[in-house]
């Protein structure tokens, strides 16, 4: 008896196994549906798949073709314009609103939900609303004309050179409130005694924010950047609802490119290659961030 007790008893062993059993469906789903699928897509990106998956490898052929396609370049350039403007504008608006809201504003409780509600909407709804608001025929341009400002022109959504900026407007509308909330949480987390000390040191409001507060918001900036960057790369719904990628190809993004090449143009290999590039872009942004966040938590 005394000897037997040196080995874990049945209950102890059972209690060691149950947690792993409970976790296993999720892990299995993750291994198959995420990492397995990623591997599969990577494989396809090296295959000659067209309408259906094919398993004949063609090396880097798809990648070479992809980077030779002007449509892909358009998508990449658009993503560059869209992502940088989207990130910068959202961050700027979010930061300003958060700082302003943090000045003991009367009615903050009213304003915050107004800034935030767009985040609850689908990009399809956002896209639909802005599509008609920016439509020169019935939207703002028309309203301005009816109000007597007849020289007013706002037809970017129909303009190949300007359409991408309408995407920025709608996307900023949807997410800048959320960025505001992130910054506001960051501001509220700053130790008030630091601010008081800085004021005693004679800092003006402006230099207080520039020299003390904004540097202390570094983590919020980082989080906002990571969130916005990954949303930008994933943007698909908004394009579909707002511009459908047009006019022409003026607002194609990698996500819409991938979809059309894979499912409507029967170039699954190229579609897969573009998806792999999207994944790598996001991984390059997310991995260091997640790694640092998880390490901090130990």
């Amino acid at each position: 008896m005394a000897q037997a007790a040196r080995e874990p008893d049945f209950r102890t062993r059972l209690q060691e196994w149950i947690p792993k059993l409970v976790l296993s469906p999720s892990v299995a789903a993750m291994v198959v549906f995420v990492y397995g699928f990623i591997a599969f897509t990577v494989y396809l990106s090296f295959s000659d798949s067209r309408m259906l998956p094919s398993y004949d490898l063609v090396g880097f052929g798809n990648y070479a073709k992809l980077w030779g396609l002007s449509a892909w370049w358009t998508a990449i350039v658009n993503l560059g314009i869209f992502a940088s403007l989207y990130i910068v504008t959202c961050t700027a608006i979010g930061l300003v609103l958060a700082i302003f809201l943090d000045q003991k504003i009367r009615g903050e409780g009213m304003l915050r939900p107004i800034y935030l509600y767009p985040m609850a909407l689908s990009f399809i709804v956002t896209g639909t609303a802005w599509k008609w608001i920016m439509d020169p025929g019935i939207g703002i341009e028309n309203s301005m004309h009816l109000w007597g400002w007849t020289s007013f022109e706002f037809d970017w959504i129909k303009d190949r050179n300007m359409a991408i900026y309408t995407v920025v407007i709608a996307a900023v509308w949807q997410t800048s409130g959320f960025v505001m909330a992130m910054f506001l949480a960051g501001l509220r987390g700053i130790d008030n005694e630091i601010l008081k000390a800085a004021q005693i040191d004679g800092a003006s409001s402006w230099s207080l924010y520039r020299r003390i507060v904004i540097p202390l918001l570094r983590p919020a900036f980082l989080s906002a950047f990571v969130i916005l960057a990954h949303l930008a790369v994933k943007s698909y719904d908004l394009i579909v609802a707002l511009t459908g990628g047009g006019p022409g190809r003026a607002t194609e993004l990698p996500a819409t490119f991938m979809y059309s090449y894979t499912f409507t143009r029967n170039s699954m290999g190229i579609g897969a290659a573009s998806a792999v590039i999207m994944l790598m872009t996001i991984a390059a942004i997310m991995t260091p961030y997640l790694y640092a966040e998880l390490k901090e938590k130990t």
Binding site: M1, A2, Q3, A5, R6, E7, P8, D9, R11, T12, Q15
Partner: protein, 370 residues
């Protein structure tokens, strides 16, 4: 064989050994305190007794039964945690009887055990409250009550008082002591507070860096610390430890201590066996209360030595006045009566009770006398 046997127990995490060959026999009714700084392995040892952590090698036996692989709930132990670990969603009564419920004790019996313990701890009026509505001291009581209800073989306490404020801590300390004297339960108690260890325990195990440095009664630990670490860890202010050389004068061993003014001081040893160390360096340990003003010296001591030295800083602390001075190249502390006539910078004749002095080997830091 003891009531709770810890035999040759070690614990490793990977290649890191956090507990080395711990050997403790706890008798029934004993109050064993494991004391040491954070990271010394005391909590790990307690968790191993509880079954919350595995044992790398060695055995732990309760009432003669080896429990190494036994699930915590089947060891017949109860534990009081530092944060009290009261289930926030249950009332005090439910908290206390949860363990009995899990062990399939019938409701009537549970109610009776609860009533008995609640009366013992005077928490009858709290039974329907939620832990969130209790004060720190009340939570502490409930946590103890939860352990008592189980009527276990061994009680395990993991720093149970460290979340209380200073005053409450002293009160609860007394309360735990009373409880132990009344119930004669076997207790293993972990703390980093050496005063708790001294006041509560019947025996103390001082732990440091995964080793039990010394195991003994509070008196043994205090008067005859096994090594410099134990000597300085137990007691507040800490024992003064200063370098000295053993010199024979009139055939009696003395500690010769260098002082900045060049006139070395000689303190006569009470222990004749120090003669064996003649001419060698040692570390001399003297507790602050063994260095006093002459009127405050211990009248039962056979060996009070006068020592003149310059006073550095005086710190009146109400009941006593602490004097800091330089001796043997170290700052040492003397404990004077509150009304002793001491002034900073003045020379003063101290009375050193050499009966209480301890000598350590400077190489191994182990005690060589008494």
């Amino acid at each position: 064989m003891g009531f709770l046997d810890i035999r040759n127990v070690t614990k490793s995490y990977g290649s890191v050994k956090v507990l080395h060959q711990v050997d403790i026999e706890v008798e029934e009714g004993e109050f064993l305190v494991l004391v040491g700084p954070s990271g010394c392995g005391k909590s790990t040892l307690l968790n191993m007794i509880a079954g919350l952590e595995g044992i790398t090698s060695g055995d732990i036996a309760i009432k003669g039964r080896v429990v190494n692989g036994v699930h915590p709930s089947k060891r017949n132990i109860a534990m009081v945690f530092q944060s009290y670990a009261l289930y926030p969603n249950m009332t005090v009564g439910q908290n206390m009887t949860f363990g009995l419920e899990m062990h399939g004790v019938p409701k009537a019996e549970r109610e009776k055990a609860l009533a008995d313990v609640a009366r013992l701890l005077q928490i009858e009026n709290l039974l329907d409250r939620k832990p969130g509505q209790l004060s720190g001291g009340q939570r502490q009581r409930v946590a103890m009550g939860r352990a008592l209800v189980r009527d276990p073989d061994v009680f395990l306490f993991d720093e149970p008082l460290s979340n209380l404020d200073a005053k409450l801590r002293v009160d609860m300390r007394t309360e735990i002591k009373k409880l132990h004297e009344k119930l004669k339960t076997t207790i293993v108690y972990v703390t980093h507070d050496q005063i708790e260890a001294m006041t509560l325990s019947t025996r103390i195990a001082v732990m440091y860096r995964g080793y039990v440095q010394q195991l003994g009664t509070p008196r043994e630990i205090y008067d005859a610390p096994a090594n410099v670490y134990v000597a300085t860890f137990m007691g507040s202010p800490a024992m003064n430890v200063l370098p000295a050389r053993v010199t024979m004068r009139d055939g009696v061993p003395h500690a010769e201590i260098a002082v900045r003014d060049g006139a070395n001081r000689f303190l006569k040893f009470s222990q004749a066996n120090m003669a064996a160390w003649e001419g060698r360096e040692i570390l001399l340990g003297i507790r602050p209360e063994a260095i006093t003003d002459p009127d405050g010296a211990d009248r039962n001591s056979r060996n009070i030595v006068a020592l003149t030295n310059r006073i550095g800083v005086t710190e009146p602390a109400g009941a006593d006045t602490y004097v800091t001075m330089e001796l043997g190249g170290k700052d040492i502390v003397a404990r004077m009566r509150a009304d002793a006539n001491v002034a900073p910078g003045a020379d003063f004749e101290f009375a050193v009770n050499m009966d209480k002095a301890v000598a350590f080997d400077p190489e191994t830091e182990d005690r060589i006398a008494p």
